[in-house]
């Protein structure tokens, strides 16, 4: 049965990608909120924010915006998984001789593809708004790698939500805190202007180290110890979320 895991995953990924192509609004709505935030911060608030970095404000805030894009995009994965479980197609798959893990991986790979498209759209708008970077091909690859890792980690969190939700609203509500996490980080303003406890939280939560790493890569500056902290957060979150999601999945399919 395990010999079919790749072909089953491919077939199920194609299925849920087709769902997205049939409702492209899921990609557009994922991109609209970050774009609106970007317009708001650059053209309304940005003039009053001093980042101390010398560069343009859009260069400063794009990394955080990209994380917000992904954090809102993964909610659709929980939603689609929840609908599968409600509709009976999930049970049909489970009663068939297909690789057990393919059912989840189909949704996860679709999430990565859809979120990358949203990220490309948001980055395109940022370029129109004046975002500039001298990043080398290697830096772009590193940024893409971090964003894929971030998407994978959060998608497995979304799988937990999709598998355990009781209602459609519950399936997507978990992502709201994730969307707000970048606001209490170095994504929009430097953390040293924040009062003590808030600054402490901002400096020690994962978004700050991830944002700082991506920002350094865009600016072609040396990436410091932040990159290792970011990597540790991402891999740690991925491992824990993957483990929890699969533990819950096993209780559902026995």
């Amino acid at each position: 049965m395990t010999s079919h895991i790749l072909s089953d995953t491919r077939v199920l990924t194609a299925r849920s990608l087709r769902h997205i192509l049939r409702s492209p609004d899921t990609i557009i709505t994922t991109a609209v909120t970050p774009i609106a935030l970007m317009l708001l911060f650059v053209y309304v608030l940005g003039g009053a924010i001093t980042t101390g970095s010398g560069g343009s404000y859009i260069n400063y805030m794009l990394p955080g915006i990209l994380l917000i894009t992904i954090a809102s995009g993964i909610a659709y994965t929980a939603y689609r998984l929840f609908l599968d479980m409600q509709g009976g197609i999930f049970e049909r798959f489970q009663s068939m001789p297909i690789a057990r893990s393919s059912v989840l991986w189909g949704h996860v790979l679709t999430s990565v593809a859809a979120n990358l498209v949203s990220v490309v759209i948001v980055t395109g708008v940022a370029l129109l708004m004046g975002f500039r970077t001298g990043a080398s091909a290697g830096s772009w690859l590193a940024i893409a790698g971090i964003l894929v890792l971030f998407t994978l980690a959060l998608t497995w969190v979304a799988v937990i939500a999709g598998l355990s939700a009781k209602t459609v609203d519950g399936a997507s509500a978990f992502s709201y805190p994730l969307i707000f996490l970048p606001f209490i980080s170095s994504a929009f303003v430097p953390t040293d202007t924040m009062p003590g406890p808030v600054a402490w939280f901002a400096e020690n939560q994962p978004v700050t180290s991830i944002v700082n790493t991506i920002r350094a890569l865009f600016a072609q500056e040396p990436i410091g110890g932040d990159s290792w902290i970011a990597l540790a957060w991402l891999v740690g979150l991925l491992v824990i979320a993957y483990g929890c999601a699969n533990a819950i999945y096993r209780t559902k399919i026995r």
Partner: protein, 275 residues
């Protein structure tokens, strides 16, 4: 106590129990289903029919007891059981966003068959869904969805099919269509285990009927055997009144070979769809 010399039963259920928390749903269910026959599990809501079907189709594990499907043990040979069965649940398990044809191709691919497109087209034709094949399943009527659902279950010709309340929520015509499909399946040698709460459905279709009540089989026999349980028939003259179903079918003109879709996508160009 007649033991008929049949070939190995296609489904053998022995002493299956299942409880959820302290609610006992199945309290020791035992029966055999002969290969190639239609076996109806008759019971009211909450009698445990669906739980039993979920156990036999490997979606749930039994607490105690054993069962085999197509000679494979449901506890230890789950992969082989899944190769041998197909489940049509109570709620049509079709993908609404995909078209009917795409649904069939999806299942054919997941069963690792060659030529999924050809298989899909054949089944669309067999279930009178060719016209609707390229429409999304979300636009189908209840009867069409159920036909598509059953068509998806037939892909790969599994020797054993479980139908959990296959006609619940269907209108009389769609119901008769499903009955015809089930009969054709059994004629082709497929073993069918169906659950139903409709007495007439069991009477119409089943070679054997088992009555599941409060988690145990309280009777199991052919229709004739079950009828003998009651005192022999006395002859009474009762005026034969048409049932409402007879009236309904006569009025709407059910000539049962015609599986037309009843959603209004008629094949005759009526020009009723101004766009």
């Amino acid at each position: 106590m007649t033991t008929t010399p049949t070939p190995e039963p296609a489904i053998r259920v022995q002493g299956i129990t299942k409880s959820f928390a302290d609610l006992y749903v199945l309290r020791g269910v035992t029966f055999d289903v002969k290969a190639g026959s239609i076996f109806a599990l008759l019971g009211s809501n909450g009698s445990g029919k669906t739980t039993l079907v979920r156990i036999l189709s490997t979606l749930l594990r039994a607490d105690t007891g054993t069962a085999s499907v197509h000679d494979f043990d449901i506890a230890t040979q789950r992969g082989e059981v899944r190769e041998s069965i197909s489940l049509t649940g109570q709620f049509a398990a079709v993908d609404d966003i995909l078209t009917g044809r795409e649904n069939l191709v999806l299942i054919a691919r997941l069963r690792h068959l060659k030529n999924p497109g050809t298989i899909a087209d054949e089944l669309l034709a067999r279930f009178s869904l060719t016209e609707a094949g390229n429409r999304r399943a979300a636009t189908y009527s209840g009867g069409m969805r159920r036909r598509l659902d059953i068509a998806m279950s037939l892909i790969g010709n599994p020797p054993v099919i479980f139908l959990d309340e296959p006609t619940t929520g269907l209108d009389p015509q769609a119901r008769i269509e499903v009955w015809q499909t089930v009969r054709q399946l059994a004629q082709g040698g497929t073993t069918v285990l169906l659950t139903t709460q409709y007495l007439d459905e069991a009477e119409q279709l089943a070679d054997r009927i088992a009555i599941l009540h409060r988690g145990t089989i309280i009777q199991n026999g052919t229709l004739a055997e079950l009828k003998q349980l009651l005192p022999s028939a006395t002859v009474e003259y009762v005026e034969k009144q048409p049932s409402l179903e007879d009236v309904f079918l006569a009025l709407v003109g059910d000539d049962d070979s015609d599986h037309t879709d009843n959603t209004g996508d008629s094949t005759t160009p009526t020009g009723k769809d101004p766009r």
